[in-house]
């Protein structure tokens, strides 16, 4: 299939209700960090953009939200034109300009503090990172605490960025500034808002 056809096919079949279903999954995941919200395959984006990450991008992004793509996604002309056709989102020049960042290879991600952290006056003006992970059970287990979690929650996403626990501790300390993360696995999503504290599993 040529790039033109790839960029047009595979959007939401039912834009209103698909976007609502994806948003409710993201909202519930953000409200209950560490919980996994399953999601049917609503979108069929061109590789290497995953089905889940593509659906989240179509749900949240539009011409008001500059998007940053990691090098793996930038290398794919089809991905860029698919996102452009279906969401209308412009591409951000630098990670600090991005409202959303789509990351196909989180293990190779640059430092979290290269993205927009928001300001002390407007902490909402920060980047939300959408990380494509292989699964949410095979990586290093994280013990989570914070708002939205009754006692503790556990999640073990695969292929997380380098030194993630230390980077996340710094991110949490910047509160109310900081980035939020949406983890897009093939069968569902989980979220790490900036309020969530990671305790590593060892005592």
């Amino acid at each position: 299939m040529d790039v033109a056809a790839q960029s047009i096919e595979g959007g939401f079949a039912d834009p209103v209700f698909n976007a609502q279903a994806v948003f409710r999954a993201v909202m519930d995941a953000m409200a209950c960090p560490g919980s996994v919200q399953t999601l049917p395959a609503f979108a069929r984006p061109p590789s290497p953009l995953s089905i889940t990450a593509g659906a989240v991008a179509l749900t949240l992004c539009d011409n008001d939200t500059p998007l940053w793509l990691d090098p793996a996604l930038q290398a794919s002309a089809a991905t860029g034109s698919w996102l452009g056709f279906h969401s209308g989102a412009p591409l951000a020049n630098t990670p600090a300009d991005a409202h959303f960042a789509l990351v196909a290879k989180p293990a190779e991600l640059m430092a979290l503090d290269s993205f927009s952290q928001g300001t002390q006056d407007y902490p909402d003006r920060s980047t939300t990172l959408i990380l494509q992970v292989g699964d949410l059970i095979s990586g290093t287990p994280f013990l989570l605490e914070g708002p939205g979690i009754e006692i503790t929650a556990t999640i073990a996403p695969a292929q997380m960025p380098r030194h993630f626990v230390e980077q996340w501790r710094q991110n949490t300390e910047r509160f109310p500034r900081g980035v939020d993360i949406i983890l897009a696995a093939p069968d569902g999503i989980a979220c790490l808002p900036r309020t969530t504290r990671i305790k590593t599993m060892e005592a």
Partner: protein
């Protein structure tokens, strides 16, 4: 009839929903922080819950069951008209039963029946800024939130004590969220403040005229501001509900005649009807309810058509 233009599902266009959804996610990620959003004109005046309606319209789906209350009542004008609005533009099931609702839009009360995980409580908020009556300039209140400078609010509560001997604020009683942001819980009676703390339900706040959205994720610490020697306390009532004999609930005063007779009844109509359906009788309740079958569990449920 079929030629009349139909609205998008839940009235708002998709770009507006995306904008509000992004604000909701930021609000959840920064509990208690007021996220600015581009509030739209709604087919109802400001003050009728345009903020809450926009939040509800952005999260609601065809499988949701909606309950709308106005000061605890399902049957007052604001609640009836918003419920009818969503039945028309989203064709969702509506109910008066607190337990079976997935989304509860509220004006100034939290239901007496405990909320459960998975439920969403949407508040209609008139003035979202708790510091606004102390400092009218937005530039200054924003700086105060940024610097976590809330001394002014404590001075206000202290002046209450100096003048009245106690903290006289009875509604919109300020709370501190997760030890960081001071937040206005909307004009709910302070009786409801303890219900916000570690609630299993997600709480979303929409202020349409003031263009702000904020949120409390489930299981979030919400502490009412107070002093060690003047601890926060809720209203108490020296008599039970006159219709269902409920104690430890929030009561409304109802004037009965022009001789000064009055009675106190539950502000939460669903809770009161359920109790009367279960056989509880207050001292002014009729011997038999006129139509008890309409009030029996699971409430008045109208499925989607």
């Amino acid at each position: 009839m079929t030629d009349i233009a139909t609205y998008n599902f839940a009235y708002l266009d998709e770009q507006t929903k995306r904008m509000i959804r992004r604000a909701i996610l930021k609000g959840i990620a920064i509990p208690g922080y007021q996220v600015p959003f581009a509030s739209r004109e709604m087919p109802m005046p400001y003050g009728w819950g345009t903020g809450g309606v926009q939040v509800t319209a952005s999260i609601i789906g065809p499988d949701d069951v909606l309950k709308v209350i106005d000061q605890g009542a399902d049957d007052t004008t604001n609640a009836v008209s918003i419920r009818a609005f969503f039945r028309k533009v989203a064709n969702v099931a509506v109910t008066t039963d607190t337990a079976s609702a997935t989304i509860i839009q509220t004006r100034h009360r939290i239901p007496e029946h405990p909320l459960a995980a998975g439920q969403v409580l949407v508040y209609q908020v008139p003035i979202p800024e708790p510091l606004r009556f102390l400092e009218p300039r937005e530039t200054e209140t924003r700086k105060m939130h940024a610097l976590e400078e809330y001394g002014l609010m404590h001075v206000k509560l202290y002046e209450d004590i100096a003048r009245h001997g106690r903290i006289a604020t009875t509604y919109a009683y300020p709370v501190k969220v997760e030890g960081r942001y001071v937040m206005d819980p909307s004009p709910t009676p302070k009786f409801d403040n303890p219900k916000m703390n570690h609630s299993p339900a997600l709480q979303l706040f929409g202020a349409g005229r003031e263009k702000r959205i904020y949120a409390l994720p489930p299981f979030t610490e919400v502490v009412s501001l107070d002093f060690e020697d003047h601890p926060f306390e809720v209203q108490t009532f020296d008599q039970p509900c006159a219709l269902c004999a409920a104690k430890n609930v929030y009561l409304d005063e109802v004037i009965l005649d022009d001789h000064g007779d009055h009675m106190f009844v539950c502000s939460d109509t669903d809770y009161c009807e359920k109790r009367r359906g279960d056989g509880h009788r207050g001292h002014l309740a009729p011997e038999t309810d006129l139509a008890p079958e309409t009030h029996s569990a699971p409430g008045n449920m109208e499925p989607a058509q």
